[in-house]
Amino acid sequence: MKRIVSFSFAAACLFALVVVSCKGGEDTNTSGTNGASQETPSANNSATSANTASYDPKRGEGKFDASNVKVAALDESMVTKGDAIFKTKCSACHKLTDEKLVGPGWKGVTGRKEPYWIMNFITNPDAMIDKDPELQAQLEICLVRMPNQNLTDDDARHILEFMRKNDGAK
């Protein structure tokens, strides 16, 4: 489902992110160096007052960008693998039509989003939900953060190919 996010709404989301953080930074804890042994317990990182200044909503955040994700003619063997992953890890929440289940339907997603944005999002959902205005708006509708389903890079590429086929790519 397509949603046009007005500028003021996006700004409101950004503002909300600064005030409300959903999740502690999880890499700040190196066990063994605990607060008790430190002179001054360092403040926990405030990564979640999301550093959105550098966030690129076209690319998302993660391993992928235009340089390492290339799409060409449809690769059916990738589609088959993507289909199997979809059945196990995605289909409980997403339909292949534009109908919302737990999350939005997949129809048309490859037309709305760059391939590398899709791959970033499905491999790194938490960081992106915290920063991406459109994902924030989506969360207000669905109320369930998309879980990290521990996809490998190859899994993500296969899912992308499966989505392309679903959107009629040849």
Binding site: N29, G35, L143, N148
Partner: protein, 660 residues
């Protein structure tokens, strides 16, 4: 006014950062810096994991130190309906024994696996005291992976102490009994003649951790209380404390406390291995259960074994040696160098310290004072390094730091005493609240103690916490031992009754942990890898329902065609692949626990409906904003009803069938 209040604060020991406060005349007040030393700020991790036995709870608890925060209770020997342990079909076999399904036990001691005498973070072992068993907990998952029963044993107390590469964990019987089998029906008064001790050596596979009852050593009938392996120079030896050398079988508190000295038993297990290889062991028919949890099928299986190899210490003269030890020794602890063995005679007014070198010399020169039950008894003086005089009353257990000091608990005088192992001099003592049993110095049983703290595990708390009726929580107390003087810095309540505990730096355990089970690797016979695989299948009066859970629905969520008296098996697969997102599963009226299913796991709840009607099922573990919507219905019809079996989500399949 200001000055006065500062003075008051100091007296109360609530000092401000940077000021130090030493109230005169009492060492029991919590003095300056305690809060700082134990405060772990929100969102920060503790420095150490502390694995604490739950005693009569049958479980093992995991605390963070120095905060004293409870992190997890691992179900081991007792059923736990909260986690489905002993209730789910997959975990029921874990509690099988030769006596059938045993839902409870008494877990006294923990033992972390080691490499070269140092904690390696792979496994932690626990003992069942009542129905003798050893459990192995896998520290990748903090779940019980294996439980092995011990034949010929009773009151499995001197266990599960390990060797310094975890070649073995040992288990000595506290209550000597006649060996299992037909010959065990004897008069109790024939103790001296018919009752025997058995020390089990359980080998542990270096890679997989898999346990195997390698052999047992038969000993005279006495009570084996505690044990420690030799290390470094004394690697290859094991030391057990024994009491009731009087061989009393009634009113032991009097009749087993008569002898001035009982024994420490030194066991040369390398020699025992040689005899085993040479075929000197006797194969004895027994029956014991060996239960293993398989991580890919998410299912436990029980195997029954029918034989154990027994070496007789009275026949093979150079496996075991007795060393006299005053009086009814309890703890038996070996210092980090492996040279000194401390016997804590709980009824003695002194602490004897034995020397491994002297024991070896005494054996070589045959400095024996005779035999006991066919086993040589080394002369007390020949094995003795020295005695700590008048250390306190009721010594129980000793742990060590890296600086040559020992810390011994005194149950009767309620204190921890610090003393110098070489010089046998007491250097400090602190009161505990109250009646301390075991102690733990992080790494205090290893070659390289981490030190820094000693934790006392107390049996009595009386007035330490807000009261909770007749039964009060037992407790642990954390002392800072980084300076010359021990300093009490924290009290915290514990589950059950804490006995022994071990602790080690957190990074040893955090690096290998699982966050999820990979669903691709799930080999459970009833897994549903995705909602497309969910279904209901009838096989006679058995109904297998393959369900999946994901935030925020159960699939299928409309089930009809179940009949009264059916055996319904809900095989629930958690499709999540995200850390810390278990789902729960429960159904109204089930004479059973719940399921708590980890991401990527499949577990099964058995339900035999006894009434007709509509039975809601739901997720019990709050998982998302729509958790309250995560539910479904099962319709139960009378036995012999012809309502077809359907399982659906999104549309009610039974209605659709009816319309056709």
């Amino acid at each position: 006014m200001k000055l006065q209040s500062v003075f008051l604060y100091s007296l109360l020991g609530i000092t401000l950062v940077g000021t130090s406060c030493k109230p005169k005349g009492t060492s029991s007040a919590v003095t300056g810096g305690a809060a700082e030393k134990t405060y772990v700020p929100p969102g920060k991790y503790d420095e150490l994991y502390n694995f604490v036995s739950g005693g009569f709870s049958g479980q093992m608890s995991v605390y963070g130190l120095p905060s004293g925060r409870l992190l997890r209770v691992i179900p081991v020997f007792s059923v736990d309906p909260e986690k489905g342990w002993g209730y789910s079909e997959e975990t029921k076999p874990m509690l099988n024994t030769s006596h059938g399904f045993v839902p409870w036990d008494d877990l006294h001691h923990v033992e972390l696996s080691q490499t070269n005498g140092e904690v390696n973070g792979k496994w932690v072992f626990g003992n069942a005291n009542n129905t003798p068993r050893i459990a192995r907990i896998d520290l990748k998952t903090f779940r019980t992976a294996e439980i092995i029963e011990l034949p010929n044993s009773a009151g499995n107390h001197s266990s599960p102490y390990g060797t310094e590469n975890t070649e073995y964990v040992v288990a000595g019987t506290r209550f000597s009994v006649p060996a299992d089998g037909a010959g065990s029906d004897v008069p109790i008064s024939s103790y001296k003649e018919n009752f025997k001790g058995h020390i089990s050596f359980i080998s542990v596979d270096k890679e997989t951790g898999k346990m195997d009852l390698s052999f047992q050593i038969r000993t005279p009938g006495v009570n084996f209380d505690l044990a420690r392996c030799g290390k470094a120079k004394s690697h290859g030896w094991f030391f057990f404390s024994c009491y009731n050398t009087e061989q009393a079988n009634t009113l032991l508190e009097v009749n087993a406390s008569k002898n001035d000295k009982d024994f420490i038993m030194a066991v040369n297990w390398k020699k025992a291995e040689e005899y085993l290889k040479a075929g000197k062991g006797k194969k004895v028919p027994v029956k014991y259960a060996h239960n293993t949890y398989n991580e890919t099928t998410h299912t436990a299986t029980s195997e029954f074994k029918n034989e154990v190899i027994v070496l007789d210490a009275a026949e093979l003269k150079d496996i075991c040696y007795f060393i006299p030890c005053p009086k009814s020794p309890h703890g038996c602890d070996v210092n980090p160098t492996g040279e000194y063995i401390v016997g804590s005679g709980k009824l003695a007014a002194l602490l004897p310290v034995f020397s491994f070198d002297k024991i070896q010399t005494a054996i070589a020169e045959k400095q024996f004072e005779g035999e006991y039950g066919g086993i040589p008894v080394i002369k007390y003086e020949a094995a003795l390094h020295g005695e700590v005089q008048k250390p306190g009353l009721g010594p129980l257990h000793t742990e060590f730091d890296a600086n040559g000091f020992a810390y011994t608990s005194f149950f009767v005088s309620s204190e921890v005493v610090k003393w110098n192992v070489k010089e046998l001099k007491v250097v400090d003592r602190v009161p505990t609240y109250y009646s301390v049993g075991h102690l733990c110095v992080p790494g205090g049983n290893t070659r390289k103690p981490y030190g820094k703290y000693v934790i006392a595990y107390n049996k009595i708390t009386k007035d330490r916490y807000l009261p909770t009726g007749p039964e009060l929580s037992q407790s642990a107390q954390l002392f800072d031992i980084s300076g010359d003087k021990m300093q009490l810095i924290l009290d915290f309540p514990t589950i059950g009754e804490p006995h022994y505990a071990q602790a080690a730096p957190a990074e040893l355990f955090t690096k290998n942990q699982y966050k999820i089970y990979k669903i691709e690797e799930n080999k459970h016979p009833y897994v549903a890898k995705g909602e497309a695989e969910t279904k209901a299948v009838r096989e006679g009066n058995k109904v297998h329902i393959y369900l999946t859970t994901i935030r925020s629905h159960i699939a299928p969520d409309n089930i009809e065609g179940v009949k009264v008296g059916d055996e319904v098996y809900f095989h629930v697969t958690n499709l999540e692949q995200d850390w810390d997102i278990p789902h729960g599963f429960a159904i109204k009226g089930a004479n059973n626990g719940e399921l708590l299913i980890m991401p990527g796991e499949t577990t099964t709840l058995k339900w035999i409906p006894e009434k007709t009607g509509i039975f809601p099922m739901y997720c019990t573990d709050f998982c998302s904003a729509l958790h309250q919507e995560m539910q479904g219905y099962v319709r139960v019809s009378p036995a012999g009803s012809n309502v077809p079996l359907t399982a659906s989500i999104g549309k009610n399949a039974a209605d659709e069938k009816a319309q056709k």
